[in-house]
Amino acid sequence: MTREEVYEELTEIFRDVFDDDSIEINDDTTSEDIEAWDSLEHVNLMLEVMETFEVEFNMGEVNDMKNVGDMVTMILNRMS
């Protein structure tokens, strides 16, 4: 999977989980940018990400994640 393909899938997940079809994400997107993205929804978002990409993150990595760019890098690292 390329970075672009991951973004494509990830955008879908964001739109579903936050029920907002206008969401666009990029490397710099953080929870500040999406109103519904609070700590509760973060749980559901991460569940969906891990299940969809069939990856399991390490707890430390997730805690260090600063933005969507980090998330995509993490997904790609785990998949390879």
Binding site: D16, L40, V43, N44, L47, E48, V62
Partner: protein, 593 residues
Amino acid sequence: MIKDLEYPFDGREIIKNKRKLKKALLESNENLLEKRIAVLGGSTTRNICLMMELFLLNNGIKPVFYESEYNQYYQEGLFPSQELVEFKPEIIYICTTNKNIEKYPGIADRAAEVEDILSNEYAKYESIWISLKEKFGCEIIQNNFEMPYYRVMGNMEASDIHGTINFLTRLNMKFYEYSQKTTGFHICDINFISADFGLRQWHKPYDYHMYKYAMNVAAIPDLAFNVANIIKSIYGKNKKGFVLDLDNTLWGGVVGDDGVEGIKIGPEESQGQAYSEFQTYLKKHKDMGLLLNIASKNDEENAIAGLKHPYSVLTSEDFLVIKANWNPKDDNIINIANEINILPESLVFVDDNPAERHLVKENIKNISAPEIDEVQNYIRTIDHNGYFEMTSLSEDDMKRNQMYKENVARDSLKNSFTDYGDYLKSLEMVGEFGAFDPMYISRIAQLTNKSNQFNLTTKRCSVEEIENISQDDRYITVSGKLIDRFGDNGIVTVVMGEQENDICHIRLWLMSCRVLKRDMEQATMDYLVKSCLARGVKELRGYYYPTAKNSMVKDFYEDMGFEMVSENDAGDKVYKLTIDESYEKKNHYIKVV
């Protein structure tokens, strides 16, 4: 009803689509019953509430939640916060898990020490239940404990007194003992739910350490579904019976084509065995007081012949109404519902043919038609839907089939009379009226939650509320039993009046539809008037609040001689009637004792 929320559902999809689902549910449901539910958690509960909300909305209940702060179940249980007190919960759900066990036995502890640890752990919970019951008098739902995901001693964890599994099992048993002696206290069996989900998946240390969820987030829909089932059962939103297809549903093959000897049922081969198991499963429902009926595209004689198969577990006698004809199934279901006087939506339609299921679901709103596939899976698909979740089992429940049968006998007697009065006389009816008796409290509460049609105010009450009202001097309470030559109908009518000086406000008046047109409401009125006069009441006030289901009684108070005082935009009506010693009895056919 949204199919995505019925078993088999995909928990992950539900979590992902919860906002869309909630929107759809709020748009499609009217007449939602609002309930205040406090969730006291031993771990994170946010997702549990969100999932419960979806499943409850799908059953016509709109929950309002109070959530305790993280892991505050014990503090809130013993010393409820001001916020919880003001919230006035109708249901409290104590969502604890084995993560909340404070102390397990140590490997070197002596038996007496192990007993102490067990008693201490149990005492913590019992003190919460007693405190909550005393402070709120509401229904309590308590999780039991799920089994752990590792076993230090291996298999001996189950049998040795130091074993975690042994300890949790004994603690669970103590919870059940409390439950058996306490009304309004329900166990949510997460021990089963976690095993059913798969213990390996249920426990997800990642979700616990990251988010403090005591179970895999993906398992939460399964848990919430079960809690919602308990709540819907408490409020009488259970299904009442089955309408079953025959060919390839109760037996393998087509009796009209294959003949009785050709259908598959019984121990001789694998498919037959599976159908027998399914019939046995249905028979257990009948024993529990649920109603079995048949809607089958067959000639009646073939249908009956099939049920006479020597290996058939169910016989014609087990069914209330058998419709074996070539009419559309939705028509047959409506007719069955009419004959036994229940709402079509309270039936579960079981048919192997997806086209029939589709037709029935399209034409009968809110009826359930589980998506069964192969016979070996029928039981699981139906059972996991929790249509008949039990929260109490009254004697009347177990006699219900008998009572409906007697009703069918009464109907055939009715047809032999030309004068309805003669028919009523021939029934030799005896009515027994009285104030709420402790013996009948659970049946009375059950009736307030189940009766929809002959129900003037549709006021729902828990066992606790009925108990309180029965001891409250301001209330004039009436419950009535009806007995006739065919049998005892049990408690069939309930009235609750609140006295204010010389006025009695009738807060609730309901009657079971199975005694409709028997003069029972007239006899009840006579009794109510007598009780009121004895307490110096001079005026009765009646209230009618329309719902989607109670139009049957829209003119009830007028028929009883009341005069309408007011009506608001919602159609709520207020009536009054002045009463004195000159009141003339309205009932002519029931002997009141």
